[in-house]
């Protein structure tokens, strides 16, 4: 089952945060998928990523794309990109994102992401947009997030 879409475009197809049991903590899609396709993808990613351990690379070939992932405690942060993309750069992007979450939630843990899920989406939207990395400066992102928070 190929993921449809023009693979001439190099961009992020989706970002997933899952825990070891397979529960989705965040799913951001940058491409058109039906609901059941989304479910299938979530399950497949979970299957592929959870069997790997420290002696594997952080890159997995996935259908006609590849997944860059990193495990933080019980959570897997996965970004699905094109095969021609720079693996290491996206690995850094994941880490950048996690550091922002950490700052924003003051030593983030999984429950923070559960109870404040809509805020997590805000963080994602500050740092990624239209399948591309948008803002990489942690200071700037945190400043924006605090501004947004004050509007609530």
């Amino acid at each position: 089952l190929r993921i449809k879409g023009n693979s001439m475009e190099s961009k992020i197809r989706f970002i997933l945060i899952q825990n070891r049991a397979g529960k989705t903590r965040l799913a951001k899609w940058y491409m058109q998928f039906d609901d059941d396709e989304k479910q299938k993808l979530i399950e497949e990613v979970h299957a592929v990523v959870t069997v790997r351990d420290a002696k594997h690379t952080n890159f997995v070939e996935f259908r006609n794309f590849k997944i860059i992932y990193r495990r933080y405690a019980g959570l897997y942060f996965c970004i699905c990109v094109d095969v021609t993309d720079n693996n290491l750069a996206y690995l850094e992007a994941i880490h950048n994102f996690v550091e922002v979450l950490n700052e924003y939630f003051h030593n983030v843990c999984e429950l923070d992401l559960v109870f404040n899920f809509y805020k997590v989406y805000t963080v994602v939207d500050e740092m990624f947009l239209a399948g591309e990395i948008r803002e990489t400066s942690q200071t700037k992102v945190l400043k924006q997030l605090l501004m947004l928070q004050s509007l609530e």
């Binding site: 947009l129 948008r134 200071t139 609530e152």
Partner: protein, 753 residues
């Protein structure tokens, strides 16, 4: 929106469910609640309910009834409600839903809202799920925002523009002028977005690409700034100044410099600088270096720079981080053809990576190692590869085996080494080799006539040890059948002597015949080998006779047929037995593609004789012999129908007889008739459409000379239209049938244009 107590409450309740069923029950109740809220509550209540619904949706439950709510909430004047509405739109709505069109107007209004945060919500949503129509409607707005003063908005607007261009490529021209000016922004976020936008524009339109080539000096300047100074401390990652921006700029430079000398020259110095100055101790630095290497290899860079790039990749191979080793090999794979010598220098490290723990690293190392095998290093490389074969994970075995065979075929230093290598592979991984290996190996063995004795001894020993590997057993049986006399003689220079009696040999073959591990094909081989031995041994012919007659009532149809025919050979045609079963001629390879099922054109007949069975008036039993012959020639898959009529005239060589047999195999000529293209002065040329497979069409040119004299200097030249050169259309000129051209004078020559 302060996290609604009720939202948190609901989440807590859901999490406290102990079973899936309990959870479903809770969700159902909550959804009913939410639905009631949607029907009657005010907007404040609505947004809380929608938030709850979104959480439920994240758990995987259906939430489509919330779609209209999103539309309503987006239109609300309050920020909190808008925000949940937009989030809902991004999560629940997509192009296929009709509701998505309804929000176009709201987005349009919000794009010009006084609060930048509202604008940003709208931009974000559009960039996430905007359909082609929405994009078309709103593109002018976005373009206006690209020139707006606020960098926060510009950042989002640029990426929104990228999304629009992806959805509606025709709108690219709209954004080109603004993209150009954005390059002078200082804000990294905007700059990043601008580079992405320009990359997208250039990818889609070659004219735009030309236009943007002029920006190369500017881009080089920006990069220089990033690399040399701490241009912006906020964007520092592990000592590298905004690696993400650097990577994107390098990518854009790659596209701009590809196939263009002026642009490539302009960036040469910069690339050298980045390559030497970037600190690669952390991932961020390595990411930048990696992108630099990719760019260097893809543009017209000078050779010194290319060597630098390959060396960087080589350094990566020694890195402790497995990720870096992996990507290094991926890149080396792409350049191993063009920069072969440079990559060869790192062969040792690559071979070491075969022992890595990660399968994907192993796979890369295998592909690279196979690409690096050459005549010089074949012996040492093969040693490593054979060791790898014994320990490699099962999914890589057949690839390794095929790779080893290919390498051995191209570079083997001696026939004996070649045979040894193939035998080694068959013993270790016989189950994973391709089917053509057996005929290939047999063909190889026949050509190495000085090694027949050695080969048959070796195979016999392998057979006695273990009969599980089918390919090995098949080859062993065939050899024993052919060269059994050499085996029985007992001595052989290259191997320790072993006394083998006739009974031993027959025992071995019978074991194969009777074992449940043997496949039907293998048993066929064994039976035929047993039969062949009847002319090569002296004492135990009766034993053979009895074996053959037993199998005359075997359940397997193929074996039964063979046994019956052999029986007949013993009884009625005993006078022919010796001739039928004599030694096979040396087999040539048919044609370059002979290992595959599809052989192009006619099969070249072997140089030495006419297989005797064919001449001797065809009757059923030799057909099975010929069957083997054709199998071994790697011929067709279709079953052979023995030609019923004995061939009448041996005027043309009996190779024609062979070909007649094969003529029955070819797919019937299609309805395209033979075209006569030239008839003049006694020379007639006809083009005949022979056969067509999925990948090939075979056409024959038949030239005949009906004059008294010889025709000299006959040249055939074939050409294809320029359109089809290179990969699409390969012209394959194969064998020549010299039929009616009088012998000596004329040597037709064939040359492809």
């Amino acid at each position: 929106m302060s996290p609604s107590v009720r939202l948190q409450e609901m989440i807590r309740v859901i999490r406290s469910a102990r079973t899936q069923g309990e959870e479903r029950g809770i969700i159902q109740r909550e959804c009913a609640d939410i639905r009631a809220q949607f029907r009657q509550g005010d907007n404040g209540e609505r947004s809380h309910s929608l938030a709850k619904l979104l959480y439920v949706h994240m758990l995987g439950y259906p939430a489509h009834f919330g779609q209209m709510e999103c539309v309503r909430l987006i239109a609300s004047p309050r920020y909190n409600e808008k925000r949940i509405g937009y989030l809902g739109a991004m999560m629940l709505l997509d192009e296929k839903q009709d509701a998505s069109l309804l929000i176009t107007n709201s987005i349009k209004n919000d794009l010009s809202h006084s609060s930048q945060y509202v604008q940003s919500l709208a931009l974000c949503t559009l960039a996430c799920m905007g359909s082609a129509e929405m994009c078309r409607d709103l593109a002018p707005e976005i373009e206006r925002l690209l020139r707006a003063s606020n960098s926060y908005i510009k950042k989002k607007a640029t990426l929104c523009a990228v999304h629009i261009i992806r959805k509606v490529p025709e709108l690219a021209e709209l954004f080109t002028p603004s993209a150009r000016t954005l390059l002078s922004e200082k804000n990294h976020g905007v700059l990043h977005g601008a580079v992405v936008l320009i990359t997208e524009l250039c990818k889609r339109n070659p004219d735009t690409l030309d236009q943007f080539r002029k920006t190369v000096p500017e881009l080089v300047q920006i990069m220089k700034g990033l690399v040399t100074s701490s241009y912006s401390p906020e964007h520092n990652v592990a000592g590298i100044s905004d690696p993400f921006l650097q990577v994107r700029i390098l990518r854009l430079l790659r596209i701009l410099g590809h196939n263009n000398d002026t642009a490539s020259d302009a960036m040469n110095d910069l690339l050298a600088q980045v390559a030497t100055n970037t600190d690669s101790s952390k991932t961020a630095g390595s990411a930048v270096l990696y992108e630099t290497v990719l760019t260097i290899m893809d543009i017209n860079s000078e050779s010194g720079l290319r060597v630098l790039a390959v060396n960087i990749l080589g350094r990566f191979l020694l890195n402790n981080d497995r990720n870096i080793r992996y990507i290094s090999m991926t890149s080396l794979q792409k350049i191993v053809q063009t920069d072969h010598n440079a990559v060869q220098r790192h062969r040792g490290t690559i071979v070491d990576c075969l022992k890595d723990q990660d399968t994907s690293v192993k796979r890369r190392a295998l592909e690279l190692s196979l690409a690096l095998v050459s005549a010089v290093n074949i012996r040492s490389m093969m040693k490593e590869l054979l060791i790898f074969l014994s320990f490699c994970p099962p999914e890589l075995r057949s690839q390794t085996a095929s790779g080893i065979f290919n390498a051995a075929e191209r570079y083997s230093p001696s026939k004996r080494w070649h045979i040894d290598t193939i035998l080694h592979v068959l013993t270790t991984a016989g189950g994973d080799v391709r089917d053509e290996t057996v005929p290939n190996l047999i063909q190889l063995i026949t050509t190495a006539s000085e090694l027949h004795c050695y080969t048959v001894h070796k195979l016999y020993r392998a057979l006695v040890k273990d009969i599980a590997q089918q390919s090995l057993v098949q080859v062993a049986c065939w050899c024993i059948g052919e060269y059994g006399d050499l085996l029985l003689k007992g001595e052989c220079e290259e191997i320790e002597p072993l006394q083998v009696t006739e009974d031993d040999v027959l025992d071995a073959l019978e074991t194969v015949l009777q074992s449940h591990m043997s496949s039907p094909a293998t048993r066929g081989f064994a039976l035929t080998a047993t039969m062949k031995l009847s002319t090569r041994i002296t004492d135990n012919v009766d034993r053979i006779r009895s074996i053959v007659s037993i199998y005359g009532s075997c359940i397997d149809l193929e074996l039964q047929q063979r046994a019956v025919e052999y029986n007949a050979l013993f009884k009625k045609y005993d006078h022919m037995r010796a001739a039928v079963l004599e030694r096979m001629p040396v087999m040539d390879k048919n044609s370059p593609g002979y290992t595959n099922g599809d052989t192009p054109g006619e099969i070249k007949e072997p140089d030495t004789s006419k297989p005797k069975p064919v001449e001797a008036g065809l009757l059923s039993e030799p057909a099975s012999q010929v069957c083997d012959l054709l199998d071994l020639l790697g011929g067709t898959d279709t079953p052979l129908q023995p030609s019923p009529a004995p061939t009448s005239t041996p005027t043309t060589t009996s190779s024609a007889d062979l070909l007649d047999l094969l003529g029955g195999l070819e797919t019937p000529h299609s309805s395209i008739p033979t075209v006569s293209v030239y008839e003049k002065n006694g020379l007639s040329l006809k083009i005949q459409y022979d056969k067509q497979t999925e990948t090939e069409v075979t056409v024959s040119l038949i030239a005949s000379n009906s004059t008294q004299n010889d025709i000299t200097s006959f040249t055939l030249q074939a050409a294809v239209p320029k359109v089809y050169t290179r990969s699409i259309f390969k012209l394959h000129l194969c064998s020549l049938q010299i039929d009616s051209f009088p012998s000596t004078a004329c040597q037709p020559s064939i040359s492809p244009l």
